[in-house]
């Protein structure tokens, strides 16, 4: 077929598209590589030495040591907080999304259409519009500046529900549920043993999206939290930079902190590549 006719051409490299792609990759990797080099330098070297030459000594170890001892090791507390927020929030939000999406896809019940529309409208509200009243309401019940204040508002995820509904429609056949009902299985059993299992890969994608969204979130914890022992990495490093504006010696700490904050996400990202199918992310399941 045509592939045979095209095969010889494939061997020649198209320099223009390859060149553009390499430039794009360099643009995207450059800041990460630079922060890696900058992390190896001591405070003095950071401002004095040639920017592209790393300090091959123990500079990075020293810098990580400095960062770890800053304010009693608070950086690692921030890292742990970020993991707690993203992990707990991600799991719970995926569970909420899975339940709601499955119900919307597999049952006809009163108010289902209206509910779905209200949920979708939630995507459009800018987060700060809700963050301020959320903060005021949570402080009335004494929950402001707590872990719950950061996790609870992020459990309702319209996009996750939307995706779960699509995955349930696409991957859980009605016939299978009917057959299960004939076998006398209860609705709960069917949901847990048939629905959830078939929706599995899609649910992993929803979890990853939610994990990244919470890990990346700045505004909500920034509004909710006042004690720095509860900060996630984003808010912690931001506060460190704000101090650093007066005290340039903190810059090298922010640089190492930035590197350490990027690395786990990159590792997670590369190791879970097979779940990053964007046709799933964009909801285009056939």
């Amino acid at each position: 077929m045509t592939t045979i006719a095209l095969a010889p051409q494939r061997k020649r490299t198209g320099w223009l598209p390859t060149g553009i792609l390499v430039l794009g990759a360099v643009y995207c990797l450059f800041p990460v590589l630079w922060i890696l080099i900058a992390s190896t330098k001591s405070r003095g070297e950071l401002f004095a030495t040639s920017t592209y030459v790393p300090d091959l000594g123990l500079g990075i170890v020293r810098n990580i040591g400095d960062l770890s001892s800053y304010s009693g090791g608070i950086f690692w507390q921030w890292m742990l907080n970020s993991v707690i927020y993203a992990l707990i929030g991600g799991v719970l939000a995926s569970a909420v999304s899975a339940c709601c999406g499955y119900a919307l896809a597999k049952y006809r019940f009163r108010g289902a259409g209206a509910l779905f529309n209200v949920i979708l409208a939630g995507v459009l509200l800018p987060p700060i519009v809700l963050a301020i009243p959320q903060y005021l309401l949570l402080s009335k019940v004494g929950l402001a500046d707590s872990y719950a204040a950061v996790i609870l508002p992020q459990l309702f995820n319209p996009y996750g529900i939307y995706l779960a509904r699509i995955y349930a429609n696409a991957s859980v056949p009605d016939e299978l549920l009917e057959a299960g009902r004939l076998d006398g299985a209860g609705e709960g059993t069917l949901f847990l043993s048939v629905g959830l299992r078939l929706m599995g890969p899609g649910l992993v994608t929803i979890f990853l999206l939610q994990f990244i969204a919470i890990w990346n979130n700045f505004l909500l914890p920034f509004v909710m939290l006042s004690s720095d022992s509860k900060f996630p990495l984003t808010v912690g490093l931001y506060s460190l930079l704000q101090h650093g504006a007066d005290e340039a010696s903190l810059y090298s700490l922010v640089i190492v902190g930035t590197l350490l904050a990027v690395l786990p996400v990159i590792v997670l990202f590369l190791s879970l590549q097979k779940y990053w199918k964007v046709d799933l992310v964009s909801g285009a399941v056939k």
Binding site: T18, L21, F109, A179, I212
Partner: protein
């Protein structure tokens, strides 16, 4: 999943099917409500209630009266005073202007580069595509605040490896491009992958037909692929418009380094400053409500346009 159920599935449609239809999900009325309950509870507690509360706050004001026994403050109905103050505030309009300028920079660059990279990935003779796809998608996983810190040090004269001591990346005009660059860096990969996925889904024989007609690969990209990609491009544009309206993290994080960025540089920064720095929750609530309404209107119009264009294409 028992094998028994699977055998049932293979059964020819008969009495079983009829019985199932009669019993159906309606025999379990409570269950779907139970499933949606957590989502509905969260929706009410964390979206609807705060929304109504913001609306109430926007019509109130705190009345501070100083007496001999110290000052007391009480909340009183203010009518549309907060809205009048919000709309009469020059910083709101300049923040909107900044946001629009940022959108004018970030939207075309993000969509343009995403499209360019997607087409290159799809090009027949491109090499290193796997490496490039991963590298360009990678910044999507980097938080906006962290991305801004990365670029902030690249811009900062004292540490810049890209000529920050010659070029002022934080100048009044340059700062728009400096912020725009951080936004582009974070967004281009995601949009590229969405467009690339759409390209891969197109039937390959269209290209063969064009090739037989003597089209070069460049011509195929411009005259065949781009028109067919229109729904994906429109969807990405919608994502990018929504992100542009909610711009906050990048300018807010760059502010300690860049004097050109004020505390009210974009609307969301102004709302935050009003609420927590100036402690005028009521003004902030009024501005939030106005902003939410504007965003809803723009989003509805934009998604209608996208839906119409996309369906126009498929016909």
């Amino acid at each position: 999943m028992s094998s028994e159920t699977l055998t049932r599935l293979a059964d020819p449609p008969g009495t079983g099917q009829v019985r199932a239809a009669r019993r159906g999900p309606s025999g379990h009325r409570g269950f779907p409500y139970l499933l949606v309950l957590p989502a509905v509870a969260l929706l009410v507690l964390f979206v609807i209630a705060p929304g109504i509360y913001a609306l109430i706050l926007s019509f109130q004001t705190r009345h501070v009266s100083g007496g001999l026994l110290g000052t007391t403050s009480e909340t009183v109905f203010a009518g549309v005073d907060n809205y009048r103050n919000a709309l009469g505030d020059g910083t709101l309009w300049s923040s909107l202007l900044h946001m629009l300028l940022m959108a004018a920079i970030t939207i075309p660059f993000t969509i343009g580069f995403a499209l360019l990279f997607a087409l290159c990935l799809d090009a027949l003779r491109a090499r290193l595509t796997r490496f490039a796809r991963l590298s360009i998608f990678l910044p999507y996983a980097v938080p906006g605040v962290i991305a801004t810190l990365l670029w902030g040090f690249l811009y900062l004269p004292a540490t810049s490896p890209i000529g920050g001591n010659h070029i002022n990346f934080f100048g009044q005009v340059a700062v728009f491009f400096s912020v725009g660059n951080v936004v582009l860096w974070g967004a281009v990969g995601f949009n590229m992958v969405v467009m690339f996925t759409a390209l891969r889904a197109l039937p390959r024989d269209i290209y063969d037909a064009a090739k037989i007609d003597g089209c070069t690969e460049w011509q195929i990209a411009v005259h065949v692929k781009i028109p067919l990609l229109r729904p994906a491009i429109l969807m990405c544009s919608l994502f990018t418009v929504l992100a542009a309206l909610q711009l906050y993290n990048e300018p807010n994080t760059l502010r300690p380094l860049a004097n050109a960025i004020s505390t009210t540089w974009v609307p969301l920064m102004k709302i935050y400053t009003d609420a927590f720095v100036n402690s005028d929750i009521n003004l902030a609530a009024a501005t939030s409500v106005l902003y939410a309404v504007a965003v809803l209107i723009i989003s509805v119009i934009a998604s209608r346009l996208v839906a119409r264009r996309a369906s126009g294409w498929s016909r």
